[in-house]
Symmetry: C2
Subunit: 446 residues, 2 copies
């Protein structure tokens, strides 16, 4: 039998109705053995997440103020779920423990982790699964950094003997037993760690959308959902700032080649988005899967005749960036030129020093700066293989009157990066989306 | 009045008939005050250049052999020119001096420079111009390297007082008065140095073709002549291996912003190719001026998830190349990847060591090598401004079924570099040429 790790996010666990949806989903497929749970999220737009209520409790307590009202809101959220589900759960005892902790030198990470802790215990009771506290098996080092290797072993040891379990997301503990929370990706990371630890066949990430969109819906009206994409394509989306699984939440599963399926708790009939190591050959997927972008970029161009005949020019340039502690987004060396794409906000901090150092060390024939650029990433590992698709994208930009500043396409299955003026950013996104939405593209895929 | 420096190449000075063409050209425009002359070149395909005859004299003499037959061939070439032009020239005395030198520890550079020396003296006599010996004003340092700064001053001092002069190309002398020849570009460099020294308005380079061609005529049937291109475009052509003016022959003039005009001595009615610092705005020139390429390239792709979040990955990569003393042609960094274009012959020398060092120092997720690639340069500084043109080129490649491996277009007015498989190289050149030969492109230019 297959083993699936299913992580449910905050909105999927916001109230008793959502718990019942989860119960149906879990019952629907017995391979969903390990469930990772978040704290209750928002039930409606103006609602407050339980984790935020807990943070308020902590801040009130830490500053010596009254925290009872906030704590009672926390208690109320859980009490409602327990009552509606008709569970027998020692909520008052748990709240009493938390109150005692808050009264006496409260620890932030401990307090804000109680949402996941309680919600997971309630979900375990509701599903009849074993509760696994990540305090025992999600391991942090003394500096508060996740110890992924140790976690893998301890989580495997904790989960594999169990037929089914609910693990609380978001936190773990260091070697002194002190609770530590995950800085980025939160429960998504816990789920990914669990999937890797039990060698799961699939890591399901249940949320409130039916998958990743092919473009930013604030720019493109009703973009399509992406059916399947590679880890690398996802990483590009994430790098470009799309709100997707954080790289930290992808790596544990992706290192094991475990597919990740983004699903919608409210629409379990939707297949969602599948994230895989390699795209299946027969997949009738578009060569280009989506478009994303980042604004606020600048381009520095350094030119010196015959640098291509000398080695080291580009290396000196990167050394200068290192001196200035200025990271770069892209570096393109051509014949006698080096082009650097840099975040404008970071460049602003050291621009004059940087230019002075370039002039001093490289004595360039030309040193140019182009500001107010945005970078588009045309997401599609297959784009390079079927270069028609990438070319059609560039053509669409040209046809839309969007000037193309830089074009960067490395070898292999890589995403295409294109620089365009910031005032044309949204237009460019729409033009690329229209080009990839073209039915001709579907035919171009293998 | 304008001042023009006109350099005439070997075929332009191969016989008396060619001397008469030069006379007509010089008389046609009195601003052609400073003439730089090569040694007599080939009169027909199987002919031997005088410089090669002189090299034979030197080699025969240096090895203690008989050189009289070779020397008499040299003498014969000049005697014929002098006789046909009806000049009074002390050829026998000059040959006697050369013979004496050859008999007693001959110096290679001195011997092979005598072709330019004698031809320039004969041309000066024929035109009624002053002869200027570069022994006096083209200055080399003790290591035999051209001293461009000193040459500029001494050439200016030698030429500017003269109304008109013929300067011998190809050689100069070091501070001990020993004759030294220019390693690359030869007389083209002398002409460029002279143009810079006299602040010429124009440097004419007279040869046996009516300018630069938009593509390699061995691949494209009857390519067009380029009317006007920038120094940078020329440099790209030169880098790509096209047989054009060497960079050393362009730099002295281009540093002064002096336009260079490539003309045909046999067809003075042709306007030739004008090489300028900045393309004139109103010029009805194609945005893309030509296409060139280099075969024998390999692409290394190094990928590591999240390198974009750390700095230094690309810098370490360039450091590794430096350790291996391996120059690279292009470096493209993208999200989590570095792509390097490297000459296959250079890579072959250190491939295993290089890959071992990359694995050791970078521990990449993926390390790929693509061989048998060629790099196309789409020559056109204006290509980026009017991005339609570059996009149309990519589209033409896609339409021709040429897979595109890498695309590199830096910001600003830069040439587009595209990697294609070597077996598609000629097809790709033809496809790009057809795209730029499109009348639509002429309309796209500003």
């Amino acid at each position: 039998m297959k083993t699936v790790v299913a992580k449910f996010g905050g909105t999927s666990l916001a109230d008793a109705g959502q718990f019942r949806k989860i119960q149906a989903i879990v019952k629907d497929d017995p391979s969903r053995r390990y469930i990772v749970a978040s704290a209750p999220g928002k039930r409606f737009a103006e609602d407050v997440k339980v984790t935020d209520l807990l943070l308020r409790c902590y801040e009130e307590a830490a500053s010596g103020g009254a925290f009872e009202e906030s704590l009672s809101q926390v208690q109320g959220r859980f009490a409602e779920i327990i009552a509606e589900l008709g569970l027998d759960f020692p909520l008052q005892e748990e709240i009493a423990l938390l109150r005692a902790h808050l009264q006496d030198a409260p620890q932030r990470d401990y307090v804000i982790s109680r949402g996941e802790y309680l919600n997971s215990r309630i979900l375990a009771a509701f599903l009849g699964f074993t509760f696994v506290d990540p305090e025992w098996c999600v391991c942090f080092d003394g500096d508060g950094r996740l110890d992924a290797a140790m976690t893998r072993r301890t989580m495997g040891a904790a989960l594999r003997p169990l037929k089914s379990a609910v693990i609380a997301g978001f936190y773990g503990a260091d070697m002194n037993g002190q609770i530590r929370t995950l800085p980025r990706g939160g429960s998504d990371v816990t789920g990914s760690l669990a999937a890797a630890a039990v060698h799961a066949d699939l890591y399901e990430n249940w949320t409130d959308v039916s998958g990743l969109l092919a473009a930013d819906p604030r720019i493109v009206a009703s973009p399509k959902t992406v059916s399947c994409l590679s880890y690398r394509e996802l990483r590009t989306l994430s790098y470009m700032g799309a709100s997707v699984l954080h790289t930290d939440a992808v790596l544990p599963a992706s290192n094991e080649g475990i597919p990740i399926n983004i699903r919608n708790t409210n629409r379990p009939q939707d297949a969602g988005t599948l994230i895989v190591r390699r795209l299946p050959r027969g997949e009738a997927r578009h060569a280009i899967v989506g478009v994303a972008g980042r604004v606020g970029m600048s381009v520095i161009q350094v030119e010196k005749v015959m640098v291509s005949d000398e080695s080291g020019f580009a290396a000196v340039m990167l050394d200068i960036l290192k001196n200035q502690q200025l990271p770069f987004e892209q570096c393109l060396t051509g014949i006698d030129t080096v082009t650097l794409v840099i975040r404008s906000d970071l460049l602003a901090r050291c621009r004059e020093d940087l230019f002075a150092e370039i002039r001093e060390k490289l004595d360039p024939d030309y040193l140019g700066l182009t500001e107010n650029l945005s970078m588009l990433a045309v997401i599609g590992d297959k784009g390079t293989e079927t270069c028609d698709a990438n070319v059609r994208v560039l053509q669409a930009l040209a046809a839309a009157g969007v000037p193309i500043s830089t074009i960067n396409q490395g070898a292999g299955k890589l995403n295409l990066l294109v620089g365009v003026p910031e005032e044309k950013y949204e237009e460019a996104i729409r033009a690329v989306y229209a080009a990839i939405d073209d039915p001709a593209d579907a035919l171009a895929a293998d």
